[in-house]
């Protein structure tokens, strides 16, 4: 690419942006990044880059030349990229229509053709909640699960265990982790007691991970908690964003009924990680092992999607379907986490297209995928993604792409659960109960008896006590989310 970044992405404007849009975007960025105000390192450079981008794009001749150059460099980047990207649309054409229409795009990000089957070094930090509620079986299980991971470490790996209550401390340092006997005795000193201040734990965990940060490897933080934090949510989110910037992914594991699933979801989605729910601590060993094994199979980390949709198009929602189902929000750039060697990252984008009056090709948006391919040096690899569709007058006869329909049918269940919870919180308990009953019917039809039963019992609870149980909320949320992992059973509903 000329320079090293896409000027349009830098300003956050679509490729067909007019002068007005450019001016607005430039002003906004400049206000934030001006050397008189900015505090973070690197902002001044960014400010200068944005200035250059604005200068080039507002001069028609230079912009035309730049567009050509950009096109050529993108074609070149795509041809030698170590990433592949497949795009499926819900319909092969948009309708010429004087009202908004919804369109779905399925994006698959895969490793390139030649993938070396090497295990990358793993740099992991496990941050353990040791508040009073963890006492007993919970902490015992977590302790032994953690020790099992440390036994599996290879020479190039690094691991660190941090525990927190109202304060945080390093329980097992990376040096101590290399010796299992030392690690075991250090872990046995871990005692429950105190409150839950997640921000403290994350802060220390991140600073330890940064010390042992590995460019060639996977950097990952696992947060195990059973309680909610009060007052430091903002700090937590800021840490998650800083983690995303560095390429550290955050996994949340919630034990029991009383942790804050919304905060953990938010932390994980900002850093490209995911959240797992354990109703009993017994499964924690398996779970940690699974996470650890998946880290050994990472091909690229810090996978990001940046760019902008055209003016005619609004992104309504993004759902990551693989490797871990997770709603991703609607803000660009999007941090997508780790790309597994033998798998894919699959995203389902839902967009609203504003009324289109002309027949022809409509560009939905221009994006750049970027990722750090592990073992390929420091330069992130990029891959252009261009979404466009023809616009026709006649509605299409063929049914929408099967995989999209299958994914949407599961997402519909997830959304129903979300709506019911929202309604319950607003006090509309009878409506929420009806919705859960409806959800139960759908779940039964999909042969998910356990979940259907949970939905029905929550509906009943709503009718009696006007509220959901904190456990039921989580069972339904993570249960319906996990349905996305199953292979689609049938073409319908």
């Amino acid at each position: 690419m000329p320079g090293d970044r896409d000027y349009y992405a830098l300003l956050g404007v679509p490729r067909n942006a007019n002068t007005d849009q450019l001016r607005r975007a430039y002003r906004e960025a400049a206000l934030q990044l001006h050397p008189d105000r900015n505090v973070r390192a690197g902002d001044t450079e960014l400010f200068l880059d944005i200035g250059r981008a604005y200068e080039v794009l507002t001069d028609p001749d230079r912009r035309a030349a730049y567009d050509q150059e950009l096109d050529a460099s993108e074609t070149e980047a795509a041809s030698k990229s170590s990433l592949r990207c497949l795009v499926q649309h819900s319909r092969s054409a948009l309708l010429q229509l004087d009202e908004p229409q919804v369109h779905y795009v399925l994006l698959d990000i895969l490793p390139g053709e030649s993938v070396a089957p090497t295990r990358p070094p793993i740099n992991v930090c496990i941050v353990i909640d040791r508040s009073t509620s963890m006492r007993g079986q919970r902490l015992d299980q977590v302790r032994s699960a953690t020790l099992a991971i440390l036994k599996d470490l290879q020479a190039a790996d690094s691991a660190c265990i941090v525990a927190f209550s109202d304060r945080a401390e390093v329980v097992v340092s990376p040096e101590q982790a290399k010796d299992v006997t030392v690690a075991r005795s250090r872990l046995s000193l871990l005692q429950a007691g105190g409150g839950t201040e997640i921000g403290q734990g994350l802060e220390l965990g991140m600073s330890e991970l940064t010390k042992t940060f590995s460019r060639e490897g996977v950097n990952h933080l696992i947060l195990l908690t059973d309680g909610r934090t009060y007052g430091d949510e903002e700090t937590c989110l800021r840490i998650a964003e800083a983690a995303a910037e560095k390429g550290i992914t955050l996994n949340g594991v919630g034990i029991g009924a009383d942790w804050s699933d919304r905060l953990l979801d938010d932390l994980a989605s900002r850093s490209g990680g995911n959240v797992l729910f354990l109703d009993t601590p017994k499964a924690v060993t398996d779970l940690l092992q699974r996470i650890f094994d998946s880290l050994g199979k990472v091909f690229a980390s810090r996978v990001r999607l940046e760019g902008a949709f055209s003016d005619e198009v609004d992104l309504r929602s993004t759902f990551r379907l693989y490797p871990d189902p997770m709603p991703m929000g609607d803000a660009m750039p999007m941090t997508l986490g780790h790309l597994p060697r033998d798998g894919r990252i699959r995203l389902l984008l839902e967009v609203v297209v504003h009324p289109v009056s002309t027949v022809g090709d409509l560009i939905l948006g221009h994006f750049t995928l970027s990722a750090d391919i592990l073992g390929l040096g420091a330069e992130p690899q990029t891959h252009p993604v261009r979404l466009s569709l023809p616009v026709t007058k006649e509605p299409e006869a063929s049914p929408p792409a099967q995989e999209i329909v299958a994914a949407l049918s599961q997402i519909a269940l997830y959304r129903m659960q979300e709506k019911a919870r929202h309604e319950a919180e607003l006090g509309q308990s009878s409506q929420a109960a009806r919705r859960l009953e409806n959800l139960a019917t759908h779940l039964l039809a999909a042969d998910e008896r356990e979940l259907a039963r949970a939905a029905l019992s929550e509906a009943e609870r709503l009718n009696h006590s006007r509220r959901l149980s904190t456990e039921g909320e989580k069972i339904l949320k993570y249960g319906t989310r996990a349905l996305l992992l199953l292979p689609a059973k049938t073409g319908a509903p």
Partner: protein, 171 residues
């Protein structure tokens, strides 16, 4: 905008599932009826027959009706003496008298023209119209195109969609 057939919620054109009730809005076109494994159809038919409903359920004043078992809705059979059951699809030439689309008929494996109910002098009859997943009365599969008498409380199953005949005359 398009309207969800089951809850009347308005959605943008192109939406595939209703955001309100989860009903599928874009159908896979006039494609084949969804196949349900035979053993599943039979297994569900074996579930014990629910007690026949009592008279007051027929508030509509209809003499005869079909009660959809999973929702409790009653479809009155009035105004004529034969009713075809199935699911209507846009653009289909012949549509059934009673459209079961609102009861997730597609998911339950109901054919577009699945069965017919005949109200005759002596009794009520059900005929399977060579449906893909078959019609069962009280768990027994019907031979296609052969009419079988049904009585008050009998369970008629189209694919996996179960309904019960309610009749004021207990005939």
């Amino acid at each position: 905008m398009i309207e969800c057939p089951s809850c009347r919620h308005q959605e943008f054109v192109g939406t595939i599932y209703c955001s309100e009730c989860g009903t599928r809005l874009v159908h896979a076109g006039p494609g084949p009826t969804m196949a349900i494994p035979r053993d599943r159809v039979n297994a569900e038919a074996l579930v014990t027959k629910p007690a026949p409903p009592e008279g007051p359920e027929l508030e509509s004043g209809a003499l005869i009706g079909l009660r959809i078992l999973n929702t409790g809705d009653i479809l009155p059979l009035i105004g004529r003496d034969n009713f075809t059951l199935g699911r209507a699809i846009e653009g289909q030439a012949v549509i059934p008298d009673i459209d079961l689309g609102a009861f997730n008929a597609y998911d339950f494996g109901v054919s577009r023209m699945h069965a017919e109910v005949l109200l005759e002098e002596d009794s009520v009859y059900v005929v399977d119209l060579e449906s893909a997943n078959g019609t069962l009365v009280n768990g027994k599969p019907l031979e296609p195109q052969r009419s079988v008498p049904v009585r008050h409380g009998d369970v008629i199953q189209l694919g996996r969609l179960r309904m019960q005949l309610v009749s004021r005359y207990r005939g």
